[in-house]
Symmetry: C2
């Protein structure tokens, strides 16, 4: 694995892991008032497209990061709709 | 411009634009209680690394999306620290 792929994987780790604290916070507080539905809807759509892009350019960091980000964005969206 | 680059640019547009509604919401409500500081700190660090990765692999959609996302993530973080 070359250095560029390592940087990509670290980048992927950061952006993927970043959604977890938000997910845990919403889960604990059951409060989503300040969270923008549009943000997570657009973000979810965006990472789904990035995932497709990653498959097309055969880029592993893009594929792994965006598939995991998509799942978390959808869960946060579900919480947002569940806990008004 | 080939079809793959177009998909990448649309993906970039979605994930970049996604932060704007959150930024506007925080700006209007001055309320950030439900927003996770860790999320936007990790996300900001992650998109900065993606930006560097984009430069290294010379991938235009990755470069443009992540530079804009970085700026917005930093602004949301500043709001989070300013409006407790």
């Amino acid at each position: 694995m070359d250095a560029i792929t390592v940087i990509g994987l670290i980048a992927a780790l950061f952006t993927t892991v970043s959604l977890l604290p938000q997910l845990i916070k919403v889960w604990k507080t059951k409060s989503t008032k300040d969270i923008s539905t549009s943000m997570f809807a657009l973000f979810g759509g965006g990472v789904l497209l990035w995932f497709i892009y990653g498959l097309l350019v055969n880029d592993f960091p893009i594929i792994i990061a965006n598939s995991l980000a998509f799942v978390q964005a959808v869960i946060i969206l579900v919480f947002k709709l569940k806990f008004k």
